[in-house]
């Protein structure tokens, strides 16, 4: 009986298939609120080429919202634009702008609250305080968005993509610039950050706090205050990323603080002031990375144990390695060091004398940073050589016993 009823309804064209609700100045529904009122679960709202001023649109139906070319949502009085508060919501191809700074509410262009299976794709979010703000969201995808903020200083600006207490997110192929943190993940587990381009952010390009079991792959992170900061997290996998041109006295390509069991493989570190800054991080594998022309390739602060640094290329860094304390139980092996001057008599591709990556000059430079201007002077080369012949100040146990003779491709 019920089936027959549905069948008749179906014939009449009522209800059970998803409709497309069009919104534009000349359509049946002229404002987005009207269109939203008229839609039911699983409908598509198609927003046509127009500008709409919106005062916090709360979405509580599972809708697909598609913007045609030029559909532009502007925040009324600088408030929020869209809040997603249910599951299965897709937001595609819209333009957002005009969310102003509010430290109390942390206004965002798109806020996702307690929902699952959302998709935010092909949007353009400009001049917003926070762009995308996820709270307790799960299994969502954020992809191909262009997010351009207007951050001036760290304290006065918001994050591009901000996720708090989320699970199973995929953040892919976004471009984020001019925010405080490009992508910020706090208490976010089992998530992937893939192929994003995060640049010119005032603080971090990508920032993990208290997040476990995450992966970030093939991202390009350049010209931020700090490239990527990973703090207080476990089992993070970092692969095929490029960290470039992060310059300044507190600028790192990658900052690791209290990280356990991470994998850092196949990354490129190019011309950062400090390639990787490590503090209190244990059981990390640094494999197959390229460190090219950084000020310092790796700087180990205290409390780093059981790390493996192997098969990396250290190319023309001003200083390869600095250690602040005794490094216990860390392994350097089979790396290529461009400063290595040893020989390989048995022609097995591995140098016959060990390489000591910590030089006297890096020790002196730590004592008095002004000596940076003496880098590459003949005097510095001479004392480095003297120290190499008979080490007094530099740690004897930090060495690569099997340095490679050729660049590892």
């Amino acid at each position: 009986m019920k089936m027959a009823f549905l069948f008749i309804l179906n014939l009449l064209g009522i209800g059970i298939y998803a409709n497309v609700v069009e919104v534009c100045k000349n359509c049946q529904y002229q404002t987005i609120q009207e269109g939203y009122q008229a839609s039911i679960e699983c409908d598509t709202i198609l927003i046509k080429n127009d500008e709409f001023v919106i005062d916090n649109w709360l979405i509580e139906k599972s809708l697909t919202i598609i913007g045609e070319n030029g559909a532009h949502l502007i925040a009324k009085d600088g408030g929020e634009i869209i809040t997603i508060a249910t599951n299965h919501v897709n937001i595609i191809g819209l333009k957002f702008s005009g969310v102003t700074t509010n430290y109390l509410k942390e206004n965002a262009a798109i806020r996702v609250k307690h929902s699952k299976h959302f998709l935010i794709e092909n949007n353009q979010i400009t001049d917003c305080f926070f762009a995308i703000y996820l709270e307790k969201a799960k299994s969502g995808t954020i992809s191909n968005n262009l997010i351009d903020g207007n951050a001036s200083t760290e304290a006065e600006s918001g994050n591009g993509i901000h996720a708090w207490s989320c699970d199973f997110l995929t953040i892919q192929s976004n471009e984020v610039l001019h925010h405080r943190d490009g992508i910020y993940l706090e208490f976010v587990n089992n998530s992937d950050v893939i192929k994003n381009h995060s640049h010119h952010n005032t603080r971090y390009g990508l920032h993990y706090m208290f997040s476990n079991d995450d992966t970030y792959v093939s991202n390009v992170i350049e010209k931020n205050g700090v490239g990527v900061a990973v703090m207080f997290s476990r089992r993070i996998t970092m692969k095929h990323n490029t960290f470039a041109n992060n310059w300044g006295h507190a600028a790192y390509g990658l900052l690791l603080k209290e990280i356990y069991d991470a994998e850092i493989t196949d990354n490129n570190f190019l011309e950062n002031t400090i390639g990787i800054f490590v503090e209190g991080s244990n059981r990390i594998n640094y494999l197959n990375n390229n460190f090219r022309r950084n000020g310092w390739a790796i700087k180990f602060s205290g409390g780093c144990e059981a790390n493996v640094i192997s098969n990396n290329n250290f190319l023309y860094n001003s200083i390869d390695l600095v250690v602040a304390s005794k490094l216990n139980d860390n392994t350097f092996e089979n790396n290529y060091w461009s400063d290595y001057t040893g020989y390989d008599l048995d022609k097995n591709g591995i140098g016959d004398v060990p390489y000591y990556p910590v030089k006297l000059f890096s020790y002196i430079h730590q004592q008095a940073p002004e000596t940076v201007v003496l880098m590459r002077s003949l005097f510095v080369e001479i004392i480095n050589y003297a120290e190499k012949v008979s080490p007094v100040f530099t740690p004897k146990d930090i060495m690569d016993p099997k340095p490679k003779m050729n660049i590892i491709l």
Binding site: G295, A368, P369, E370, V373, F379
Partner: protein, 260 residues
């Protein structure tokens, strides 16, 4: 003056030692380029070599050349020529020949290895310019030393000592001073120490390109601004100019009064 310049230039480039000097640069640069195909690495090696060798050769050649052509200078003095044109002509001819050695010896091999299209082009240009500038400055100093001492052995030993001082001793003392006074703000002191040594000036100019990322790691505001764009470059270039102008003026003053 031009005639004397031309004469001394031709005499220099026909000399066996200038030929060997050029050949050394050529062979060294070619060997580095052949051994490692990475332009950055070769540029760094050549920077180290140039910063040591151009001052040394400049000052030694300058001194020896002056002593060798002392009689010729005396002969010229007997002609109706101003002392200014004699000394300037002799000096410029020699300095030009040394610069040519650097340009040919270091410059040409890199051109064959496609430096023009590479991102390291600015470092390369800086490197050969600094090679020439250091040759000019140190051969000037050499002429001054040679004019001041009639004794060849004394002149040569002073030359070698001057090179040793600027290339090594100065930086050693510089470092000790920084370490000794590290509790005080040393920004301005560091900059003034740099300005007083032409080798340091040339080195810092190359470092500004080569190791910029490390330079920016320093926290002092004055030095960071100095090492950053604009101001620092201008100040360093101006200081190098002064290092050429003041000794040149001194050379002329000495030449005018010199009693042969």
């Amino acid at each position: 003056m031009l005639k004397i310049l031309k004469f001394s230039f031709y005499e220099m480039i026909r000399s066996r030692w200038v030929f060997i000097y050029t050949l050394f640069y050529l062979v060294a640069t070619m060997a580095f380029l052949l051994l490692s195909n990475d332009l950055s690495k070769v540029l760094i090696s050549m920077t180290n070599i140039t910063l040591i060798l151009t001052p040394l050769i400049g000052i030694l050649f300058g001194t020896i050349y002056y002593y060798n052509s002392k009689e010729f200078i005396q002969l010229l003095m007997a002609q109706a020529l101003s002392r200014w044109s004699i000394f300037t002509g002799m000096y410029l001819g020699m300095a030009l020949a040394l610069c040519l050695s650097v340009l040919v010896g270091i410059g040409i091999p890199f051109l064959f290895y496609g430096i023009m299209g590479s991102p390291d082009l600015t470092i390369y240009l800086l490197l050969i310019t600094m090679g020439c500038v250091l040759s000019i400055i140190f051969s000037l100093i050499a002429f001054i030393i040679a004019i001041s001492c009639d004794d060849e052995v004394k002149g040569l030993s002073i030359s070698i000592f001057v090179w040793l001082f600027f290339a090594i001793i100065y930086d050693g003392a510089f470092m000790l001073l920084i370490l000794g006074f590290k509790d005080y703000p040393l920004d301005k002191f560091t900059i003034s120490m740099l300005v007083l040594n032409p080798i340091d000036l040339a080195r810092i100019l190359i470092l500004m390109k080569l190791d910029m990322s490390a330079m920016m790691g320093y926290t002092g505001a004055v030095l960071t601004k100095f090492l950053g764009r604009g101001m620092g470059m201008v100040l360093v270039s101006a200081s190098l100019m002064m290092w050429m102008i003041i000794p040149f003026w001194r050379l002329f003053a000495l030449g005018k009064k010199k009693d042969f």
